[in-house]
Symmetry: C2
Subunit: 214 residues, 2 copies
């Protein structure tokens, strides 16, 4: 599958490597592609020869677009890409926006909803925003199974996202479809608890599991 | 321990029964104690002969006060109790406030913080707001261990709360101290994800577990 990942931070790079390893055709999109030199950086590894281009070019050639840009800038960056290169595509939104004092940039709703509202032709699926970048592509490194959530209005788009999550190592039983894109609120608001847990543990290396009745 | 539980809804009753079974001296506080007839109701059970009195009377005689009133009314109800009957006491706050459309009544911060700010002489501990009333007092009924969180500025008060949670069946390793009362935000905001999960599963009967690295 042709996947464009917008954003070249830890999350964008981790996902790019994960999906490239799974055999997908991955390109990274950056505001300043000329400044991104993956290979030259300390800790560069296999998969760091993923091509980097501008945001619009990356999105235009892709079947699936991943929003891994900073949450407070995502809507403006997607607007810069324009409606046309995005029209009809699946957008996997993994971003969360934080304002000052680690508060949410969308305290009353969610970034996922704003993106869906702003780009009605996109088929937005919110997922992967409840776990650290390294674990997104290595769910097996946890002590036991953990849960990932999906939110989105388009069932087919959620199935595409679920298949791509499976390619990262997430088994079907680890995925929980929460419903429409408004349920992205729950995923994004969990970020506050995520940060609290991370501070308490001194590590971002944890997952969260929905524990059913015995 | 003398425990006053303010609020006679599902949560208040469940906690009252749980702590009474553990041997504590429990009283329920209600705005209209004359209207609360626990024994007479369908499904009444052992523990339903817990005394019910007014909010002020309940709080005045207690060592530990539990806020299980509706989150949108809690601050006003506690103000009605007054500073004096609460001064110096541990207040275990288990409430979450919801506005219209299931949004949080405290989207920018938390009810726990507002209570602590409004009643500086109280020692507020936020906990138990991430799980359904029935499971609060029956953590063993889940398939595996789940996690409860504690937030509060007073270490001694959190130790008291942890001991009382232990009496409800929560082992020490299930408790995660998130830090000061500002971390109540994470617990309260998780409510949005909690409701999404409940809707997806068709049940409130689940816990959540922080899964550490292997």
């Amino acid at each position: 599958m042709k996947i464009a990942i917008l954003g070249t931070g830890n999350v964008g790079r981790a996902l790019a490597r994960g999906w490239a390893r799974a055999g997908h055709d991955v390109v990274l999109g950056s505001r300043r592609p000329e400044d991104v030199h993956l290979r030259a950086e300390p800790g560069s590894e296999a998969g760091d020869d993923i091509p980097v281009t501008d945001l619009k070019g990356a999105a235009a050639g892709a079947e699936v677009v991943v929003n891994a840009t900073p949450g407070t800038a995502s809507v403006a960056l997607l607007a810069g890409v324009g409606q046309l290169p995005l029209a009809g595509k699946v957008l996997i939104d993994v971003a969360v926006g934080f304002g000052e004092d680690s508060s949410l940039s969308h305290p009353e709703e969610s970034l996922g909803e704003e993106i869906q509202r702003t780009f009605p032709d996109l088929r937005v699926v919110k997922t992967l925003c409840t776990i650290d970048a390294r674990l997104m592509v290595a769910p097996d490194s946890l002590e036991g199974p953990s849960t990932l959530f999906l939110s989105g209005d388009d069932a087919e788009a959620k199935a595409t996202a679920a298949a791509l999550l499976h390619d990262l190592g997430w088994p079907p039983e680890s995925l929980l479809d929460l419903g429409g894109i408004t349920t992205a609120r729950g995923q994004e608001h969990y970020s506050l608890l995520f940060m609290g847990i991370a501070k308490a543990l001194g590590s971002y290396g944890f997952g969260v599991r929905v524990v059913p009745p015995a």
